[in-house]
Amino acid sequence: MTLLIIFLFLGIGLLGMPLAFALGASAIAGLIVSDVDFNLLPSRMMNAVNAFPLMSIPFFILAGELMLKAGMMERLIDLANTIVGRVRGGLGHVTMLAGLGLSTVSGAAVADASALGSTLIPSLRKHYGVGFSAAVCAAAANLGPIIPPSGAMIVYAFMAGPTVSVGGMFMAGIVPGLILVCAMMAMVSFIAIRRNYPLTGEAFALGRVLHELKRSIIIFLMPVVVIGGIVGGAFTATEGSAIAVVYALLIGLFVTRRLTLADLPEAIIRTAVTSAIVGAMIAFASVVTYMLTIDQLPQHLTALMKAITGSPIAYLLIVAAALFVVGMFLESNAAYIMLVPLLHPIALQYGIDPLHFGFLFVFNLVIGMLTPPVGVVLFVLCGLTGLKLGELAWHVWPFIAIMYALLFICMFFPAIVLTVPRMLGY
């Protein structure tokens, strides 16, 4: 039955059926073969999404949308410009810092790529050419799911079950995220000096920095309140995300006054549809997972892995290689939903720390968003710039190399990932 479900899913998926529905169709085939009652379908699908933690997905998406509509991008860019605008490759550094700031309120790389690209590429391309400009925006956008809050980490934690907390995953991303920003800024400097890019922006002035910091403080208070509250145990991730929505709404309506009530329906519908893409996959995948569990696939897979290797590091390398391939062909949310229930329990069997494995898993698939042929972040920037996928992939590869280097460093030195969560009791 397992083989039937897997081959049917791959077959109709490759023929163009949306993955959520392909999961549903293959689950139905499994039900027919194993003679299980069809009324299992609606009850399992409903129960799969009847989960309080999942509500944080639409809330964080909506909060990010509202913050963007409230004009936070402009303030972030102005602040970054006063700090690093004058150094060589300054606009590239501004993009990286704006991406870092944006990632503290938004947890999705695609949304960040769209926001960064549409705002910064017109200025970037004047000085650096369109390829490098789009590559810098793509790399900066990828910080979104690594720095908390992160939609990817919420989905991972949900699919992994009680061994992984959303707060713990959020904290695991902080140090690697900051290292990644620094490394990517070093790469921007290296390329800018090598290509002799011109100096842009105004000279550093403490007064201007303080002025822009004052204007932006309202943005940075949001992650302090929301993530701080979640980590400090004042509220759950879902409650924190709802507070983020209220916060963004108040900022947009009363502080920046760029948001109107008329903007809300469109933002809400977009949020709901984006969440339903993930929700549909979770709902249909729950039936498949049930069928595979009946067939004892997780146990068979664990036995197979144990027969291949007893080394946790070897397992991490095998998973990394598998996710490298998966990330090239599959959208990351689909990969979390289908693979985490299978691969996470095996990691626990090897004695790998669940947060360590979870972070590596997420980071690997986040990098996959930059690798062709299915690199969704690249698609967004190709759409904004008119670049061909191959051209953009050529410009973005130095940043991908940095990300993979950091991934392997984090794999061999778990303390980089685990120190902050451990300090906070996760």
Partner: protein
């Protein structure tokens, strides 16, 4: 309503016209329902935090009702995702096929999807009917209200997929898809 997305019936002639009108009406109703549901979720969850910290009290039913609104929002939004053509798929093989073959394949796949959604919807209606007398834990409402959105959302999705089967590309809402990108 959204400023960009049209809920007017798609161009259709003859026998397809009533179906187009029905789908458009359902889309519009789903869109407004989503606005109310997501707004309700935000209000319920943030009110719970406010009550806990500001009034040192709590509302017992917010958890269950907010989950109910979330389940409704997911299943009502699935058909709008089909309309926008944004559900994640693998196009790596199909885009290499000749245009005519792509069209035929898209219709066949949509028909298969419509059949699956109809089956799920039918099963959900039966289950909801069977569970109608069971009550939720915190409020005096039937627990079947958790299953009803599965039935409605899947039936609405089946109509969209049927529409794609009959018209080819009619299910894609370019404006909403662009918005979602």
């Amino acid at each position: 309503m959204t400023g960009h997305t049209s809920y007017a019936p798609a161009a259709a002639e003859g026998a397809l016209r009533p179906l187009a009108a029905l789908i458009a009406a359902l889309d519009l109703a789903a869109a407004w329902a989503l606005v109310a549901l997501v707004a309700g979720m935000v209000i319920l969850v943030s009110a719970q935090v406010f009550m806990r910290y500001a009034l040192n009290s709590s509302i017992g039913w917010t958890d269950e009702v907010s989950r109910l609104t979330f389940v409704w929002s997911i299943f009502l939004a699935i058909p709008l995702g089909i309309k926008a053509g944004v559900h994640i798929g693998m196009e790596i093989l199909t885009v290499r096929l000749p245009a005519r073959m792509q069209d035929v394949l898209a219709r066949v796949i949509a028909l298969l999807g419509a059949a699956m959604m109809t089956l799920v919807s039918y099963q959900a209606f039966i289950l909801a009917y069977d569970q109608w007398d069971e009550l939720m834990a915190s409020i005096n409402m039937s627990a079947a209200w958790f299953i009803v959105p599965v039935a409605i959302g899947c039936a609405h999705s089946a109509l969209h997929l049927l529409w794609i089967t009959m018209t080819g590309k009619g299910g894609v809402d370019e404006e909403l898809a662009k918005d979602l990108d």
